[in-house]
C-alpha cells in the first residue's frame, strides 16, 4: 500500500528518518534502509538537516525508490529560491517521488557551511501553497506545466504550541498539509492539547505522525532539553535514564512504551534515532506494531 493510501486507510503509520550520505557512497544509505524493510511504511530523507551539507534528498530518495522503498522527501526553504524549489519538485515527481515534507529549515549558521547565503525566498506556508499550484498544473508565475506534479505534502510542527505557532499550523493546514510529522515527544500526556487543535480542522483534519527519539543516556536527554527547540524530556524520564543500569536499553523501552500508548492517540509514529536504526525494528516489535 502506498503511503498516500495508508494515510487514507486509517491504519497506524510508521515512518523513519535517514540522512543522505555525506559523499557519493550509496552503501550507508542502503544499509540503513535495509534495517527498515517491512518496518517503516515510508522512509523520510532529510534535506541538509541541521544545515549540514549532504547528498541531495531527491537523489537519495530516487536511489531508495529504485531499490523498492517508498520515501518522503524533505524540502526546506533554506537553500533554494522559488525557481530552484520548483525545478527540484518537478524533478522529484519525474523520478517517482510522491511524498514531501515541507519545512523552513535550520539556518546555515547552525551547520558546516556557516557562511552560506540563507535563501528563505519562500517560507513553509508559501511553499505548501506553491506545491498546491504545481499539483494543479501551474507554476508560481501561473504558466501551465507539461504534466502536473502529484504530491502528498506534509509539514512539521512542535506539539506544544504558543499562540503564533498555532496560527501558523492552521495556515499550513489551509495551504494543503495533509499530514504533520512532529518534533519528538517523550510522554503521551503532552499530546492531547495538540490533537485537540488538529481536530478543530474538521474534514480537512491532517494525520498526525508523532516523532519518537529513543534516548541513549541521561546526558543525551539533558542535551536535547537545552539545545533542541520544541523538545521537553520530562524529569521522570530523565530520572529513569539516570538510574538505569543499561541506559540505551532503557531508552528503547521508554520509546516502545510510548509508541504503545500512542497507538490509540494519533495516526502514526516517526522514528528519528540520534544515530542509526539498529533498534527501530525492536522498538516497534516491543510496542506490538510489527
Amino acid at each position: 500500500m502506498s503511503f498516500r493510501d495508508k494515510l487514507l486507510s486509517g491504519d497506524f503509520i510508521v515512518t523513519a528518518e535517514i540522512s543522505p550520505p555525506k559523499g557519493t557512497d550509496k552503501k550507508p544509505l542502503l544499509n540503513e534502509a535495509a534495517r527498515l524493510k517491512g518496518v517503516a511504511d515510508a522512509i523520510n530523507i532529510t534535506d541538509n538537516q541541521r544545515a549540514i551539507m549532504r547528498m541531495s534528498p531527491s537523489a537519495a530518495c530516487s536511489i531508495l525508490q529504485d531499490n523498492g522503498y517508498e520515501t518522503i522527501m524533505h524540502i526546506t526553504c533554506r537553500d533554494r529560491n522559488r525557481l530552484s524549489l520548483q525545478s527540484e519538485l518537478l524533478g522529484a515527481c519525474g523520478m517517482g517521488i510522491r511524498n514531501i515534507l515541507v519545512m523552513t529549515g535550520d539556518h546555515p549558521s547552525k551547520g558546516d557551511h556557516e557562511g552560506a547565503k540563507p535563501v528563505y525566498d519562500l517560507d513553509s506556508v508559501q511553499l505548501l501553497e506553491l506545491v498546491r499550484k504545481l499539483n494543479s498544473g501551474y507554476d508560481f508565475s501561473g504558466n501551465r506545466l507539461e504534466g502536473r506534479t502529484d504530491f502528498t505534502a506534509g509539514a512539521v510542527s512542535n506539539t506544544r504550541l504558543d499562540y503564533v505557532s498555532l496560527i501558523k499550523l492552521k495556515k499550513k493546514i489551509k495551504s494543503g498539509a495533509s499530514f504533520f510529522q512532529t518534533q519528538a515527544i517523550f510522554e503521551a500526556d503532552s499530546l492531547s492539547d495538540f490533537i485537540d487543535k488538529i481536530d478543530e480542522a474538521g474534514p480537512k483534519r491532517p494525520k498526525v505522525i508523532v516523532g519518537i527519539m529513543p534516548l541513549r543516556s541521561e546526558k543525551n536527554a539533558l542535551f536535547l532539553n537545552k539545545n533542541i527547540a520544541g523538545i521537553k524530556v520530562p524529569d521522570k524520564i530523565i530520572k529513569r535514564m539516570r538510574e538505569a543500569n543499561d541506559p540505551a536499553s532503557e531508552g528503547i523501552e521508554i520509546a516502545a512504551d510510548l509508541v504503545r500508548e500512542l497507538k490509540s492517540l494519533c495516526d502514526g509514529v516517526h522514528i528519528m534515532p540520534v544515530k542509526d536504526h539498529e533498534n527501530t525494528k525492536k522498538i516497534l516489535e516491543m510496542a506490538g506494531i510489527r
Binding site: R78, T104, H107, D121, V125, Q126, K168, K171
Partner: protein, 207 residues
C-alpha cells in the same frame, strides 16, 4: 541611520597598497556611532602613521553620502590633490558616492551592517531589510524581513528556545511581533496568508 562598524585595522592595512593617503570621515551616522567621526579619524591617522603611511590630510565632511560635487570637495580639501588614495570612514553608501566621483583609488574603512536608528539614546540595529515593499503595518511595526533571521512572513520557524532566536543572540522577532500586535489589539493580522515578496521591488528597478 546606517549601522556600520570599523574593519579590523590589519584588514584595512593589508589592502592599502598606496602610501600617500587622505582620510575622509562622515559627520552623520558614522560620527553618531563613533566609527567615522573626528576622534576615530584621528585614531586612524595615528595608526596609519605608525604603519609608515603618509597621511596627506583628513576631513570629516558633513555627510559622505550627500555631496554637492567632487570639485567642491577638492576645493575645500586641496590636500587630496597630493593623495594616491582615499580612505573613507563612512557606510557603503558614502564610500560609493565618494568613490563614484573621485578619480583616485578609494578604500572603505567600515563594514556596513544594516539599516537602523536611534531611540532614547540607544542604537537600534536591523530595523529594515530594504525589501522595497513595506508591510510593517501588518506586523505591529516590527519588520519581519530584518527582525526575523529567516525573514519569515507567515509565522515563526519554531526554532526559538525560551524566546531566543535560533540564529542570533537576540529575541525571536516573531515573539516581538506577537507581543506588539497583542498590545495593539490587532492579533487578527497574524491570520492573513502573506504571499512571497516580489524581489523586483527592492530598488534596483529604478536605476
Amino acid at each position: 541611520m546606517i549601522i556600520s562598524r570599523q574593519k579590523e585595522f590589519n584588514d584595512i592595512l593589508k589592502n592599502l597598497a598606496e602610501n600617500d593617503i587622505f582620510i575622509i570621515g562622515c559627520g552623520k551616522c558614522a560620527s553618531k556611532l563613533h566609527v567615522g567621526g573626528e576622534p576615530e579619524v584621528l585614531e586612524m591617522e595615528k595608526k596609519l602613521l605608525t604603519s609608515k603611511k603618509n597621511i596627506v590630510g583628513w576631513n570629516v565632511i558633513s555627510s559622505a553620502c550627500n555631496i554637492k560635487s567632487w570639485e567642491e570637495i577638492l576645493s575645500q580639501n586641496p590636500a587630496i590633490g597630493k593623495a594616491q588614495a582615499l580612505l573613507v570612514m563612512s557606510c557603503g553608501g558614502g564610500v560609493s558616492v565618494i568613490s563614484g566621483c573621485a578619480e583616485i583609488q578609494t578604500y572603505p574603512a567600515l563594514d556596513t551592517e544594516s539599516l537602523g536608528g536611534t531611540c532614547c539614546e540607544e542604537t537600534v540595529k536591523e530595523q529594515c531589510g530594504l525589501c522595497g515593499d513595506c508591510v510593517t503595518w501588518m506586523y505591529g511595526g516590527i519588520c519581519p524581513v530584518s527582525r526575523c533571521a529567516k525573514s519569515l512572513l507567515n509565522g515563526p520557524c519554531g526554532g526559538a528556545i525560551e524566546g531566543k532566536c535560533e540564529v542570533y543572540d537576540r529575541p525571536c522577532g516573531w515573539d516581538l511581533i506577537y507581543e506588539k500586535l497583542k498590545k495593539l489589539k490587532k492579533l487578527e493580522y497574524l491570520e492573513v496568508f502573506v504571499a512571497p515578496k516580489d524581489h523586483t521591488r527592492n530598488g534596483r528597478r529604478t536605476i
